[in-house]
Symmetry: D3
């Protein structure tokens, strides 16, 4: 899918670091747009990322989101270390240890909150990875609902190699998106590379494609398929699955009962059932 085939989304034209287009009806495609620097992130970028996903979250014209990185070489190489060190967070001259820690903690929490916006987006997010996908790439993709990748993807939970424990979400979420903790500990403690086949085998991604283009096309196709369904059903499903991760079964069942008590008061059920009988594509109101 070439960029030119996609329709620009006017409401998102003001962003600097991300290109937001619509490759299919009701689907938004968010591209990290710093290919010359391997899509590496600095602070202004993650602050903007939060804005983008907050807007998508309640945009009635969007029902599914695809997230990818511009260019051939990288989804993202993660944190732009040079920019970060210039930003001066790590240097905190003249402060005692406690005050340095307070400064750092506030910084990390703000950063985490920006990335978590992907997860908090009420619409499903499909993350397409290719090429270099390290560090922040893992934090970000763990916030997405579905992960697919190109065959050439080189993944790494890279943080240990620069002297720190990953703190923007990888250690919180990766153990909960794949099953094998022996593997999770291995890749997090060694910071070693792993490829698309390994990512598929352990269930980190659920599809591997021949190229970035193929992966993106598949993601858009899945997004469009999801976007064709009842948004009440789809958004409820995302919410209840996310709730499930952090609650007991009993708690989730209760929450589900309360959620669906309202959600079932929708015209979408009738529309869906009718379209099933009539073999027609249903139309659902905005949400």
């Amino acid at each position: 899918m070439s960029q030119s085939q996609q329709q620009a989304l006017a409401a998102y034209s003001g962003y600097t670091h991300f290109i937001i287009t619509s490759p299919a009806p009701l689907v938004a495609h968010v591209e990290i747009n710093r290919p010359g620097k391997l899509n590496a992130f600095y602070e202004a970028m993650w602050v903007e990322l939060r804005q983008v996903f907050r807007q998508l979250s309640t945009d009635p014209d969007v029902r599914a989101v695809v997230l990818s990185g511009a260019g051939d070489r990288a989804f993202t190489a993660g944190l732009d270390v040079t920019a970060a060190s210039e930003g001066g967070v790590l240097s905190a001259e003249g402060l005692d240890g406690a005050r340095k820690a307070a400064k750092m903690r506030r910084y990390i929490e703000e950063f985490q909150g920006c990335i978590s916006a992907i997860e908090r987006c009420e619409k499903p997010v499909i993350c397409v990875m290719h090429g270099i996908s390290i560090g922040l790439a893992i934090d970000m993709s763990c916030c997405a609902d579905i992960r697919v990748c190109a065959k050439d993807t080189r993944f790494s939970v890279k943080e240990v190699d620069i002297g720190l424990a990953a703190d923007i979400g990888t250690l919180a979420r990766l153990p909960k998106v794949v099953g094998s903790q022996s593997w999770v500990k291995d890749v997090c403690l060694t910071a070693r590379d792993f490829g698309a086949a390994e990512a598929l085998a352990v269930g980190f991604v659920s599809q591997v494609h021949e190229s970035k283009a193929a992966a993106l096309a598949a993601a858009v196709k899945t997004a469009a398929f999801i976007a064709s369904k009842s948004p009440v059903a789809v958004q409820g499903t995302k919410e209840l699955l996310n709730h499930s991760r952090d609650h007991t079964v009993e708690d989730n069942l209760r929450y589900t009962g309360v959620w669906n008590a309202a959600a079932l008061q929708t015209d979408d059920v009738a529309a869906a059932l009718m379209s099933g009988l009539q073999k027609m594509k249903p139309t659902f109101e905005k949400l």
Copy 2:
């Protein structure tokens, strides 16, 4: 295993929608018995299902349970939508939104409770799936301890296609019975079909067999094997594993210590050790 080879269980002869037999010593086989309607469920069925599993839970003559669907075509096609709409829950004329919601919430909670009876049954439950296994089929099978299936099984978390988020347990339990959340989100958000091989690859089922008959035979064999072991050990193991899912490791260790403080006061340990030395099959008292 043909139905004729199985021994009817007198204590369960009064049920209408389920056939309960004993294909092996101390094993109960529960068959959903509405094959003409693809074993689709309506309210009276799930209410009865709860009764069946409550009775099995404390029946001293049952140590393991196999659950399957009658007929060649389906484990179950899920909710009988026609019956449900006639039941009138979705129509709540004259009520305001809050009162409709209260009515709906109570209904969902009652329904959830009926299906959860499979999980609450103190004896291990092996679910055998074949053919059409969609919607409620997933909710139900996630309550079982072990899932096996026939090669021809067609699974689907179907609810999104009828305009609703699955609310009888799939979204609460599926993310906790398989590892790959990318896959879980995919099948729940798209409502797409998946087959036996995929179910095995992601760990949703742990065995795939050539036919329903073969799957059922294997399940009965495993059930009989489990039933030959100490019921104190087996039922304790089920309880502690279920507790583990919803608690921290620390909490589960504590609970385990308290549980086994009583459970180890059993004659089964001596019986098991003795039979091991004597190469004889042990006999255990009822539980």
Copy 3:
């Protein structure tokens, strides 16, 4: 890796049941040393095991640990049932049921605490299994961070076969280190054997090697690789991943922010970045 190639660790020479050596810089190798009895455990052994891992936990000269069993036949055959029955815990003559239970509960909790010392060790632990690896072998290995095994390993969650529910950690941790709960329930309820290939397929181990020697060599290599990295980064990563298992994502993110607020005040980040630029191996201070 033959034992002779390893350097004895003087600080650990006083232990009776374990041989502790250093097969690589900053790596400790703990060997269960009762090969004549298939490395089966009795009480004095697990009490000593706790001491060993507590010492390793804060030993500044150790950055990664490998745990294996001496001899060709077994990682460990688990609890030495003969010794246990002589120890008299199960016989509690003259006590009423409540007092027997109190005695048993205290015993189990003490035992659990000893094995949990492996998990509480602040340094990563790689467990190498081979031959007979049953019962307590599973409890212990689930406390390790990474599990690898030899092709010949015969695993079993054996406790049901001796009339009890596993109570030293397997039922608490196994469901959380692999994804497929159908498989977990299967092996825990049947006590059946499973081999290396199956263990790899479900993600219980992350590597299988041709022989015990090869598995051990690979483990030492990984341990040495981890030990070459920033201990601030490595130990933080272990801590945050373990915390993640038992907390919500939100909670873990908060904890992570507080943890890294101090951890980032390390010289290791600069050392790591510098070594990256200079293509030299960094040196990190003790921790």
Copy 4:
């Protein structure tokens, strides 16, 4: 309030151990009716209690419930120990310790579930205590929303005096309905009596009255006042407060948002606002 002033509730005439009347519009009064035995409970009584409160929970003609004990001498003297020992739960001849424990555990859980029905009742429950109010009296009253008592009430968490830890809810709920844990531990560990003034001082009850009659009249007045308000508002308030006890603030806020998303779609808000403007008593539809 004499019994004669109350209106019998036809739908509840079939109960044996409880008299259910309506002392005020939309208010149900449940009286424990075994005054000759100090309202002591045996199994048939708590099983029936569950039925009563389940029926009240969804009875659209009931908006608040008052619970008290018949006769002058006791709210309830708790468990009828004689009946319990005849029931044979404590004797379990011929069973080993584990099987006795299983029998006992199932019995306790069933018993707990019956008493918890008071808490699960969707309508507010005001418990009126007088005279002897010991053992099960505390378990039961802790399930109520509001506790009031007569000046003559003699309370005791009595279980320790008969050789057991209270297991029907007092130890779970009492620490959560009063603030001072030093007091809670004192009365639970010593089984000493305490009176109305002490109960009020620590906040266990929120009103003390001169006599049982006065306490009952006050409770009915409060119940009637609550029953005059929007049932959507009242029942939601009870549910959200109970949820709050067992969840974090964050979790409760989320649940509240979902709950009220439906609850605010009620005509009651308009009715309440209008009646406020018009200084008239509003009328609310059934719930």
Copy 5:
């Protein structure tokens, strides 16, 4: 304390609905400034409230905050119902029940988040109540750390009287800031008024003063006293107490250890100890 005695805080001069001054060194005083309407809130106000407390949270020149309402008549009369109904949230013409619910849920969550900003403020907040303090007044004050009031305060958890369950935090927090749940349920279910003496007796407020002026003066004095102490100690104490509310003791101890591992690397301990020895007032760096 008259407004004129207070020093305006330049950094906060841009706010519309709140007056922010500094009545004492390092203390900020936030006044709700809509006395003509009993300080009733509409949407723009709570959005601004969030901004104010976010700014205070990290303002190095503020170490304690006092929150009160302008004018003699009310701390706040809560939600401005007229403004709310004009805002149109409750009317959602043309939407089905599910879509109305989604709109409402997003609205509630946004509203909750604005009020929670008081709790999230890293500096201690002392809430001074007087006159009418109903509805949102309770939600807001429960977010503060310390509550004091004037003798004339009239409190009410008013929401039930307008047909809804309080959803901006009262039901989440009130049960956790006072001990007696019988009292909490009483005031929440009846919506009745209660006064200063009752609020003090149950521990909702910890001080009652003769007048608003006296209450405000006392609050400023306490705030100034807190502000004179180590901000590392004070802010850590607030954080750890808030964490405690929502976590187990074990969890909080762990979190505390990690928190103080950095916090103790402060010069404040030495400064505090030295000032103690020298009987001088210590000076602490900004935080």
Copy 6:
């Protein structure tokens, strides 16, 4: 009660910093024995404290424990700051911030664990406070089950005054042992003194006595009373109440059912019932 009236407990004669005697049958009295230094603590003392309470926890000859401080002036003045600074934990020359933090964290956790031994002691602990009771005095007393004090007691959560947030348990437990959080925040944030009357009013202590001697005598009397009752009942009650604090009601009910399934297999119930009928004092076996 003078020390001379008490019987020395031989099994505890080896301790250095604590005097352990038996003032009544089955009661142990632990006295902090550094009156010349206001019973201030240094590291060797809290390490020994842990040993003392671990021994008491399983000592079959002890059924209740009283904890007090020797001398007239202080229960304890808390941490001996001079000793602490000499111990060198706060100075960590040459370490970077992360390594200082690791050292500090391990130190705090060890310290916390020693004090928590009071709470983990399976026998009820009654804490008697008098005179100076600040800092660690609050941490320690919050671990006890029941708190009583002399009229002259001067309490303070003192840590803020020395530049740190209390980290040995006060902030974890104080909010859970009293109801009014406004009061908790007040005393923790201001570090102000409070007296016996205030402590009683908020429920921090449950008795105030004229003098230390009277408080001690009352505590011994209560301890002896508790010790005269079934140890199965008493120890179970303590365990279940502590479990309740950190779990939901549902969870605690389940745990209680499992706990009592064994505990009810005691001869104590029969002994207690028989003694009740015969008006004789029952005798219970050791536990």
